[in-house]
Symmetry: D2
Subunit: 494 residues, 4 copies
């Protein structure tokens, strides 16, 4: 059997190599330059290459980078990929010594380093977007600290609370999501360089230095793991998925709250699509877009994670180029959700009239009346509940708000207890007012002003922690960039 | 509370409206033209609009279409979307009468019609790609009808079969996948036009005619379903997912078969990435790309389907613009898998030497020896198995191929049965030859030549059925396009 | 390296073999008896075994089946699995001839036959449950043919329709889901028996007869595919997933419709959990259970399908025992959804007062006023829209129902057109009445009575088709059971 | 409309209430007792209930618990659920005062507390199982520190390494998975008690004390979040999913390594299913079971997480009872994987003969020869590669191991460089020996003994950290149990 075919088959070129090349141009070429420079610096520092050798390569690299017009490059199939194209150019200009840049490294460790650099960029940006959203939630929650809302359980009005209290619940979730992202990024920040193909190298490379020059936290230890483990991918995309799964629930509430019949959430004109003929019809369509863009982001994260399912624990394309590039779409849709929601939440307000109307109609402060009867009239729970329930039935049947129901209450009390209540009408009104309801809920985590204020402080501190971790990471990466830049410049000038 | 904000908020414009506009330009603008033309033709035919009115609109539409430079359009936020841009242009040029084109229709029915037209295009193309693959599988299966392979169970060599027999199993799966796709497309081909916003219209529109002009099979009956049901999406993407889930299993086998130690599948140089220094190292990387592109396609299908989860059963953006556009990426990666596999399968061949070596080493014809002893020597199953097992142990211990094991066999027979076997060495060789093994498996569905030939005929017929359904659909759509074109031309000239 | 360990390792026994054994006892033992009887009958019929041999095996099988107390069997590890336990018992009682039952078959073809028999039972039951639901939807839709509802788009009130029209949209989806299930079951109904381990057998088995005796449609042709292809699993679970994904959307609407502020759907006391103290609080909790049980079913289907991802295309446990058994939980939760929804839908009713109130408040008939002005007053669309919009603004500002807005309308008309409208107050009321709105929507698929009646007929026919396919399948299986039973009885008595 | 129906509808009872009741009996009844006792202790401590009142309730609770036969309880529909059954019994025995136990709490906060207690139990057990596996991996890695293997990339032999080095890569992944689990459990360990229905209570409950008595880390702050946020569920199941996704990749390698033709991994008889007739056929079926049980676990985790998708951010059954119970199946299958793998890994060994044979055949040390030529003969990379490649081609064509290829090497060197090599045959043998290859890879994370030994120390420390976090948690929970037990006992005896 003679095989006279030559690589690459045109179909393979068109279905795989060319699309990959375009993806590398867009996403990885800049980072490949960084890796080349850092590796050269390190090879020089540990003495694997002589200063003269380093200088020659450095100058050629700089020249190539200055001359190449990335956007104009089209894949021809002459070189397998962008890496080989650069290497060929280096050898073409420098001869054999050009090949020495590839000493003690491999496309295997380079690739995962490239992917991690891209994910560090994108992950940090997404985390910054999340921090921006948390900030907007926090600002809005403070602003709406005292704004009454109807809180729902099982889709039905249940108790009064405040918008600030409600948003705070989501702030806590987002802060935990921030920590999950933070945690996930820590694994991304472990540098594979020095693992070479699988097992490190026989040359005395300095892995810690490579990590430092590229802005990583430290090297990823086991060299097999450097090219085979994918939990930096699965961990990060899983953490991102959760952000948007959780935000999708907030969005779901907004959809309900802004439904015509509910009307608790007012969405401003700038975020509402209207109909010229139906002036009352206000479609808060951004909510829908937030929902499906969240779902799409969730789905894109799943796609990346599940691609790893049942793959071997080795260096494999299932975790590389195309899959990485396909995954970036999750950042795109995710960032759009974060940006839009960061705008949306502060722009909305609570429709106090509708809250009041729904509060009254649903009688949602009635349990507080019962609690009051236990505390102030000495009734047992059962007795208090019976009086309260009878009162509620009466006002509902009369289509009265509960606050107007003192007469009904007094009658119910008399009939149940055989005596008149000691509570006067003013006390009754207070007892069933949503403001009192909220003010009484002053346990840690409750909606009462002091409890909420205390919570805001806690959230503020947690937010600072998250921001400062991000700032520290940004600083480390900026320092590394400067370090690399000056070390490389020094090579050029030697 | 005064709301002085105006639509669109810039963040909303940038995160939602502008990307959507770009998507519509790329994917839906052409079909929107078709819908406009068809709707106008229908409005004229049923007399809702007068011939003069139709002519005026038709000419203006034609002029706009001729003058608009789609690629150059940038989203400004002046018009909510592309639809409104065209409508505004129409009204701008024609005044009030321009608005009449929108009589008895709505963006609701138009949108799902657009999405279905796009899915019909893409679905048909994917099905054509699948048919091409089936054709390649069928051609290769016929070519490799007699080519022995080792068939595996539980990842271990189990029995001899032929490559043609193996590929035929996948042909059957792909033909059933083709039918599933075909079935799924049938739901796509039900036209929503005439449903208008939700409930059809008070105008006497002709829904059947709209379906016909646009190349659909027929109208989708219930008008609420026209704008709310999404099973045309979920059904289609579920069917596509299965194609690539199933192909991924074939690919998984190819990966194993082409492993260095197994070597059953020879991948030609044109599809192998090699190492300059390790001439023996042949990485059949296309197999990996086939695997992860299949996984990515599976994940993209899941993303679309799962976005519908827990959405309301109404007209909702969760099934519209952006999600539709995000879904098209599944077709892109899927088509690449089909194209590459269609090339890959016929380009590969079976390495007969390795098959022979693995067959011998794994003694996989030993069960046929036992069966032969039952049939020809009258042994019971237990006796036959004992003789065969003893024979196998002996040849393995001597590192002989089974075919060289007559002496060992005769000894095992003698020791078990107390007599010499009647079978002579030639018969023994025949009994344990993989060729005999295969030739004996002549039940329907077996690898023996006649059985396989009969199967090929069956597959050929099934393939013709699939192709003819596709051809019929293509014909219907081409007829519709001609019909629409001439009806619209008639309007212009009236 | 000497290996003195013996099978089974106790951890393997406890984590795998014992749980599998329990699963086989519960789900597959009965069908294994059927396969044994059918295979024996076939071996006798084609003459592979003599009548005497068959009789001996038949009697022993019958005795074992009569004597074995399945529930009391505990896994001991003595036999690898239930199959071997039965085979051992057969050989124990009958000696060597007992082994002949296993001629020309293998656990490979038997296993997939077992799984298919179980899925045929469960799939048919689920399809019957779905047919029951369709029947309930159809009955309720007919009953509620004229019951007005508010139809929503984008979560906001949009147009009047009828409950019957709305349910009809879901009937169509469910009928297509029924067809998808039906189609998926067709692949399940292809019999693997005769494939033996992989390649059929050297014995002249009759595959068609096996299929017939076991109630299959016909044999699955390619024998490799019989033991390697899993699309009968992925196809069926994908089809089931869609049923519950789609039903979940209906459930989502019910949740919204029964929200306190919306109140369009009245859920009776028997399906509402109430609070003793809050008499107005009615939690229609079954809706939530329907939603999450649907989600759980969807997730369980995904679990089965995705387990096949990146598995080899060979006989593999990834598609067998434990995974099959894990999948049955999807039928359990799915059947509960179907049963509960079949009860829930007819038990609910529409709250006409709330529908009227929401219709009025949302002014959802206003577009019909505009259409009327076009048709009856000769206004252009733009003019008609302006008058209608002005009317709507006026009645909303006066908190009037639109039907009371003739004065406002007349003023708007006068101001826009410079003349009084020709339409009198009675005509105006009619034009904006939801009843008229619906009655005018009489295109095919619209909510007007005649259109709906025609649709019901279509659905009735489609339902009959689905039921008759199910009945035909049941009949075939019942016939097969009788055929097998008498053929086996004949063996016993020979 | 009169509604005379009464709760519960029999279908609802059978499809929802009864299955839920069975689930609560099995999973939650014991924890409900704990919550009752802790809540009572807290109510007494803060003075909401008097000592006498507490004593009466405590004694009645103790009596009920002593008398109730949980296993024998069948759901009757008389009480909505198990909670109400206990409450009814309490009121039945104690009258009105029995109701006071429910002061300042609600089923809402209780439910999520129950779910968290169950997940703490199950999560800790799973983490313990994972620690056990890490321990087994670590022990085996140390044992196999020097055992050569073939390391693969892209499914092809690539370089020599050691089994200890390979396993270490997975240890690192598992340790990161352990940290992810640990992190996820931290969110589970935040106590919802005191949130009551939504907003805490007007009674002065002590939330910190409740958290303490129940063994939580601290209260979950925002009370709305206590009953609405589900990230304790999604975070935990996502973390679990990753464990099994990652282990599945190890399992995938084991499948390949134990394939007949590869033979690198020897699976002992106790874990291999054999065939009586094919003595050479050894099916290491536990590997398949590990794979699909991992997949099933992954799928079950997804099912739980995805059930939360598009649910409202409120208290909802989508995150409660049935879904929680359905999720426990993931722990069941996951624990089986961990137990089996913990047994499997140390029981296996590397087949040195096969490793040697594959190493030779695949020439995988050839790159080290090139590196040696660069270092010791002063060749450029290009020159070195050419000599090495020529050598490789020659030995492969002669079917010699590379170590026997000195003559071929010398010829290649001579032809390329025009001189004889300085390296002698012994040096050549050393250069291409896998032992040398490994010994040279002594960078941090490499397979050389010292590097590996250093890594083991790092892993040992990380393992201790993980174990000590787990131990601390266990201690806290045990302390809490003692504390609760004695506080409750004190109530009884007051």
């Amino acid at each position: 059997m003679t095989d006279t075919s030559t690589f690459p088959d045109p179909v393979y070129r068109d279905t795989v190599l060319a699309p990959l090349f375009e993806g590398v141009k867009m996403h990885h070429a800049r980072h490949m330059g960084q890796i080349n420079r850092a590796h050269l610096v390190m090879l020089g520092e540990v003495g694997i290459l002589s200063p003269e050798h380093c200088r020659a390569i450095a100058r050629t690299l700089a020249a190539i980078e200055a001359e190449i017009d990335l956007a104009a490059l089209n894949y021809t199939g002459e070189h397998e990929d962008y890496f080989f194209l650069i290497e060929a150019e280096l050898k073409h200009r420098l001869g054999d010594p050009g090949g020495a840049l590839h000493t003690a490294r491999s496309r295997n460790d380079m690739d995962h380093t490239l992917f991690k650099l891209a994910l560090m960029d994108k992950g940090n940006a997404l985390l910054a977007g999340l921090c921006g959203l948390i900030d907007a939630l926090l600002t809005t929650a403070r602003r709406e600290r005292d704004t009454l809302i109807v809180a729902y359980t099982h889709g039905q009005p249940a108790q009064p609370s405040t918008f600030g209290h409600y948003l705070s619940a989501m702030i806590e979730v987002m802060q935990r999501d921030g920590e999950r992202l933070e945690q996930a990024l820590k694994t991304v920040e472990l540098c594979p360089m020095g693992a070479a193909a699988i097992t490190t190298s026989g040359f005395p490379v300095d892995r810690a230095r490579m990590a430092e020059l590229l802005g990583f936290r430290e090297p990823l230890l086991n060299s097999y793991g450097c090219i085979a483990s994918v939990d930096y991918i699965t961990g990060l995309y899983s953490a991102i998925k959760l952000v948007f799964l959780h935000l999708g629930r907030l969005v779901q509430d907004f959809a309900f709250w802004s439904a015509f019949e509910v009307g608790q959430l007012y969405v401003p004109n700038s975020l509402v699509q209207i109909s010229s003929i139906m002036p009352q019809k206000r479609n808060p369509v951004p909510i829908e877009h937030l929902r499906h863009l969240s779902s799409v982001t969730v789905g894109r994260c799943d796609m990346v994670v599940n691609t790893m399912h049942n793959t071997p624990f080795t260096d494999m394309n299932d975790s590389e180029g195309e899959v990485q590039q396909a995954g970036y779409a999750a950042f795109d849709s995710g960032n759009r959700v974060l940006a839009l929601l960061t705008r949306f939440v502060p722009a909305c307000s609570i429709n106090a009239d509708r809250v009041r109307a729904n509060t009254d109609a649903a009688c949602i402060t009635i349990t507080e009346l019962a609690d009051t009867l236990v505390r102030d009239e000495g009734l047992s729970f059962r007795q208090a509940h019976e009086v309260a329930a009878k009162t509620a039935r009466a006002v509902i049947s009369d289509r009265q708000p509960l606050s107007e129901g003192y007469t009904a209450f007094a009658a119910a009390f008399q009939s149940g207890e055989g005596r008149a209540p000691q509570i006067a009408e003013g006390q009754f009104r207070t007892a069933v007012a949503p403001e009192s309801f909220v003010a009484r809920r002053d346990r840690p985590g409750g909606p009462a002003p002091a409890a909420l204020e205390h919570a805001f402080e806690t959230y503020g501190q947690a937010h600072d922690t998250l921001l400062s971790a991000a700032a520290q990471r940004d600083r480390r990466r900026a320092d590394a960039a400067r370090d690399l830049s000056s070390a490389f410049a020094a090579l050029l000038e030697d």
